[in-house]
Symmetry: C2
Subunit: 322 residues, 2 copies
DNA sequence: TTGAAAGCGTTACCAA
DNA sequence: TTGGTAACGCTTTCAA
């Protein structure tokens, strides 16, 4: 492995000049540049990135913190890796499994300059712990952080939920139930608000019994259908927290010989591949766009350029379950 | 940000001693260690990883090369990130999208010492190009590479396929069709061999018409069912290249009012979450185990310790489609 | 346009 | 047990 020093000696020029060639400095004569480049090629020279990182104080790496990896996160990650790679940044994964200590490692790595920036998908440490690391580098988050120094690319779920709801109402459904996730989450609160406002707008009843909470996945969705099957006045439509829940609801509804969408309409959320496959009406969540925006939020600090975020919006994807 | 040098000055000891404290060297008196540790805590000192990397010539990072990110790869990745993290290594993702140039970047990063090792999930560059990088660091592969310097954790698909086939035959199915992926792939060849040998063993006909190839995903699976619906003697069972294909086959079969599994048995491959959700009989592919083995194959070069690989095997998961 | 030399923050070897 | 100092391989400032 040849080094810059060797190239300098072989070429007869100084290290500084060789370095200039590497960094495309204009202050090198054409002949000198060519001569040095030729020697580099000859000796199969590659600069050592560690040395560059140490010298520049940057690693061109961004850490991505997530609780675990699932289909949704995959989509986000794919898009983020793509755009950050385009600007010369690589992505390191920190899957924490919800372990605070493990998660802290990522923040320590920002402090230790192993990564230049941090992207939080989901974080479990206390907000004040997290924000105490802001001084070591830019941090951006998918999940809402409510802190001026940690901007978020989260979208207001109100709009997406309203879209789904208006669609159901237009189709004539009246007994519309909600399958919410974590009741205390901001997302759930926005959705609930949308539900209340839109239902009221159309003079439809807002009943407590149509709020189901802590519904997260397929099994929960299946369970949910079983729950209301015996009831006197079951819902005729279900708005699901995500597509997985919708899959569960659909699969159990079929098992119970319900006619979807006549007896029961189902709307998912996110427009994952699965919803597409199974023909579930859903709300398209522009996740790839959010990932790009996440990088663009880091761009000022990283690249020194202020880039405009792209405007994003939810969209209704009509399929066979409504 | 304090540095080792400052800690040395503040403590009155040399840099060497401070370094020894950092690296848990036994050659430091207890008092000295405590004194230095106290100062480190006081000044909120963290060692700079770039400096360590440069000095040691290692980054504690492993690059993972993949064409794209899907559910299967997610599973592999999850497991690999977990075990490598356990040994102090981080994982960097290189999604190539099949672009040779982009993929080469990962190999260059091995050469530039940005990563200490490389894990290939799928690679598209020529074998001799890839192997030319072996001298720069250990490389391990998921996909079979057929090169002594690049060991693979791929499993022989013969065994898994045989398992599925024996199961179908035992259940009384006779007209068993294959939905293969890429016809030239080693996996397909192994599966084909298994098919021929097992069918012959039970004196069942091996007919050319029951080899379908280039069946990769859900749509292909749906299409496949349509193809043979008009035929005089359609298959009564289908062995699918993967679970996605099985999902497509199942969904189209239901649409065609076929009784699964009476009219048509379906077996998937991999035991993905999806197959579990939809109740598809499948072959459990120990992917997480393969990922762990991948790291263990790197361990000798990385950690200097020879670790024994765990033995892995396929398993039949019986569900409602057979 | 070029060069000398001082960083960057550690580790590791050789002495003491 | 400790210290001095030369690596590690590049960037950057200041002079020429």
């Amino acid at each position: 492995m040849s080094t810059l020093d060797e190239i300098a000696k072989l070429s007869g020029f100084s290290k500084a000049t060789v370095s200039r060639v590497l960094n495309d400095s204009p202050h090198v004569s054409k002949e000198t540049r060519e001569k040095i480049l030729a020697i580099m090629k000859e000796t199969d020279y590659v600069p050592n990135r560690n040395a560059i990182s140490l010298s520049k104080g940057q690693t061109q790496q961004i850490g991505m913190i997530t609780l675990d990896l699932n289909e949704l996160i995959l989509c986000f990650m794919n898009s983020f890796v793509e755009i950050s790679g385009h600007y010369g940044y690589q992505t390191i994964i920190y899957t924490t499994g919800g372990d605070k200590q493990k998660e802290l490692q990522a923040f320590e790595d920002l402090k230790q300059k192993r990564v230049d920036a941090l992207l939080i998908l989901t974080a479990v440490n206390d907000k004040h712990v997290i924000t105490s690391y802001c001084k070591y580098g830019p941090i951006v988050s998918w999940q809402r952080m409510d802190h001026p120094e940690i901007p978020s690319v989260a979208m207001n779920q109100y709009d997406g939920y309203a879209l789904a709801l208006e669609h159901l109402i237009e189709r004539g459904y009246k007994r519309i139930a909600n399958a919410f996730g974590r009741p205390s989450s901001i997302n759930t609160q926005s959705r609930r608000l949308a539900y209340e406002q839109i239902m009221s707008k159309y003079n439809l009843p807002v009943l407590e019994k149509w709020y189901y909470t802590t519904i997260y996945g397929i099994q929960d969705g299946e369970q949910l259908v079983k729950t209301f099957m015996g009831q006197p006045e079951p819902p005729d439509a279900i708005l699901c927290a995500n597509d997985l829940v919708a899959v569960g609801v659909l699969s159990e509804a079929r098992r119970q010989k319900l006619d979807v969408p006549r007896d029961l309409a189902i709307v998912g959320f996110d427009n994952s591949k699965l919803s597409q496959t199974l023909g579930i009406t859903t709300i398209q969540n522009p996740i790839a766009g959010q990932a790009e925006n996440a990088f663009l939020l880091l761009a000022p600090a990283l690249l020194g350029l202020d880039m405009e975020l792209q405007p994003l919006s939810f969209q209704l994807i009509e399929r066979e379950t409504t």
